[in-house]
Symmetry: C2
Subunit: 244 residues, 2 copies
DNA sequence: ATCGGTCTGTACACAAATGTACCGAAGCTC
DNA sequence: GAGCTTCGGTACATTTGTGTACAGACCGAT
């Protein structure tokens, strides 16, 4: 399902972009760019991790899956992060499901090569991954609390804003998929989405969502959006930005 | 509020107990045992981390706190873990509040000394902390999903079981404190607790809870208890157990 | 142009948790 | 042992979300 492209251009992942030139060159030669379609399942819960991914334009979703198949997003991963962080922690499996939520490109590397890379002396990779771990843990914790304390509407607004940060105004997702992500019933999403539409904050039809007013959405969202974002900014303020 | 004791005996924390003898001796000399009372706030959100704690009989709670003061537990930390993991990640502050949920002892070490310890070549400490990080991330994710998908009653049962694993049958907590932990309203706890009491699973009065039937509670709890526990067993199966 | 599948709007009975309030009882202090 | 504080039981109206069902609308494929 994944299409290797011929010539890796400049990677557009913030972690890769932040590597110093030595480790960068070395890692780059082992990275392969792939284009991933919406809905592709990268890992099932418990799967062995064969590849680690550095998202570029693609956005992934880490989902906690219950025995009955219900899912809730633990956190999205875009070009600020890495998919397969478990390898860094010394594991070779992942407890969460990983799916593609926004089709696009990512750089992938064989898990074994990634491990070698981590062991190499001069890499700043561990340093970056430590910081990302912090970020992820903070985000997951905030999500846990958000799931308990905030309304569907607030959470939807939060989530749309997070996606907006990744992909800009246009989002290709159905209400159904969003419901799976937020762990709620589909009509629940439709209802809140309709409200946002009527208030002119978003527009949509059949899987195409346009975000019209960030400000409006921010007013609807719970504080969690801001908290997570600020934590990210704080941790990664010194990293080079990706222009894309 | 914390009382240093004179003579550290054998530490009863699993991470410490798992250290090889070289790093163990070195670390031990820098650890100080403290007795912590119920309710003591170790860190406020955003606080600078002065000390890292290795819980022994004490149990801590990592709480995500909202702007209005509402709290939800992100995860408990007992003698299997460490309080102040952020230092390992390279941070010097913590995003979550940390409070003592079960009074008892812990070993503490100055954050700076702990950092030095991490840098020392021969320590297996990083290895252990990586594994604990995995555990924590998995637990937090599961909690996030649990908060969304499972009923108050299921969550209360899960939480009582987790506490049972730490402290055995007797638990010293009011409904009010449990409500803060689970991020729900106090009467909600009272209602479910009463149900459990009537079914003979627990007993309680004024802040003293006795757990009478693990089996019964397990039947009431959601799968999350089991999932988290199994993940822990899987990750730490090879560590020496603490007899206490 | 038609068909079929997918996506969204809507409805309704129901369950679960909320917010709030009040009372009695247990335990602590003096 | 009197009084205060804390803790737990209970009630009730309200909100939020669930589960389920169905219909209309849109889109792509034949």
């Amino acid at each position: 399902m994944s299409t290797p492209s011929s010539q890796p251009q400049q990677p557009e992942n913030r972690i890769i972009a932040a590597l110093n030139s030595t480790s960068y060159q070395h890692l780059l030669s082992q990275l392969e760019r792939v284009t991933l379609p919406l809905g592709e399942v990268i890992y099932e819960p418990g799967d062995h991790i064969d590849y680690v991914y550095f998202p570029e334009t693609a956005v992934f979703s880490m989902l906690c899956m219950m025995e009955n198949g219900d899912t809730v997003e633990v956190g999205p991963v875009g070009r600020e992060g890495i998919v397969g962080l478990n390898i860094f922690f010394g594991a070779n499996t992942t407890p969460t499901e990983l799916v593609v939520h926004v089709a696009g490109t990512a750089m992938k590397i064989k898990a074994e090569l990634f491990r070698q890379e981590l062991r190499s002396e001069r890499s700043v990779l561990p340093h970056l991954l430590f910081r990302y771990s912090q970020m992820l843990l903070a985000m997951t914790g905030q999500c846990a609390a958000c799931n308990k304390l905030h309304s569907l509407e607030q959470q939807l607004a939060r989530w749309l804003l997070m996606m907006h940060d990744y992909v800009g105004n246009e989002l290709l997702l159905t209400h159904d998929l969003i419901a799976l992500t937020l762990g709620v019933r589909r009509p629940g999403i439709s209802e809140s989405a309709l409200l946002f539409k009527q208030e002119g904050l978003i527009n949509y039809q059949r899987g195409h969502i346009q975000m019209l007013s960030r400000q409006g959405l921010e007013a609807k969202a719970c504080e969690c959006y801001r908290v997570i974002r600020e934590e990210y900014e704080r941790l990664f303020a010194d990293l080079p930005r990706i222009s894309a």
